[in-house]
Homo-oligomer: 125 residues x 2
DNA sequence: GTAGCTGCAAACCTTTTGCGCGAAC
DNA sequence: GTTCGCGCAAAAGGTTTGCAGCTAC
């Protein structure tokens, strides 16, 4: 693996994901950091998010646009079909599922359990 | 809802998804049909896939690129981390999860359970 | 001094959309 | 004849990449 150096931008990007509750997209991270780092480039955000996801320092969530999560303990997610927000689910990760799914020659390394529904804010409208 | 007319293209697109085992993307459907319908447009494939997904005639799978499935009975999926292929999982859909997830004011309409791992073909290499 | 990282901009890929013609009804 | 759907092409996101200069070590 390539040697990795410290960079102020990478640290801020990581903190922005960790401190945000909304599983931010690259664009959201960029918007969060822009006031503080006006010269920050969107390309740098993408590069660092991808790099940290590859290292396992961040988790990447599937979807039409990629979202990132600094909570590495496996957990479920709730996705609002109306506004698109992603929240943490209340159910624990069930490792028994992985063992059960290991069939047909597949090696299972994990799973993603995402619920779809309507969030409280959207339900009120 | 808008009145819907028959179209040869839509039928073929549906059949291509149904007859393919690989949960094809729009591009894959286009490639499958091109020999048979040389004038087919990629835009038409996207339009019809999206329309049939909205009607519930097809299921749309999340991911970096959208995939489609003609099997409407809810079921789990296996995704190969190496080659990206998506296969059907052996586990049944557990509706009890939806009831359990309904907390914090959310209305849950369904869930998606996707296992990540290595498929037999990639494991052999 | 030598990599690695940034900012910038262009390129890329997937998906959507506007438009005029042809097809279904 | 009236709509709706198609093919085409352009546009619109989201994401990646090449490059020259700056930064960590």
């Amino acid at each position: 693996m390539k040697e990795q150096r410290y960079s102020r931008q990478r640290e801020r990007i990581y903190q922005a994901v960790r401190d945000s509750r909304e599983h931010p997209t690259a664009q959201m991270v960029y918007d969060i950091l822009r006031p503080e780092l006006p010269k920050l480039s969107l390309g740098t955000v993408y590069r660092n998010l991808q790099q940290m996801a590859a290292e396992g320092r961040l988790a990447q969530l599937d979807g039409p646009v990629a979202r990132f999560d600094a909570v590495l303990v496996p957990h479920t997610h709730l996705c609002c079909a109306n506004c698109g927000q992603v929240a943490d689910g209340g159910l624990p990760y069930d490792a028994a599922l992985d063992r059960a799914a290991m069939a047909g020659g597949w090696t299972i390394t994990g799973h993603s359990l995402t619920f779809t529904g309507i969030c409280p804010a959207c339900a009120g409208k």
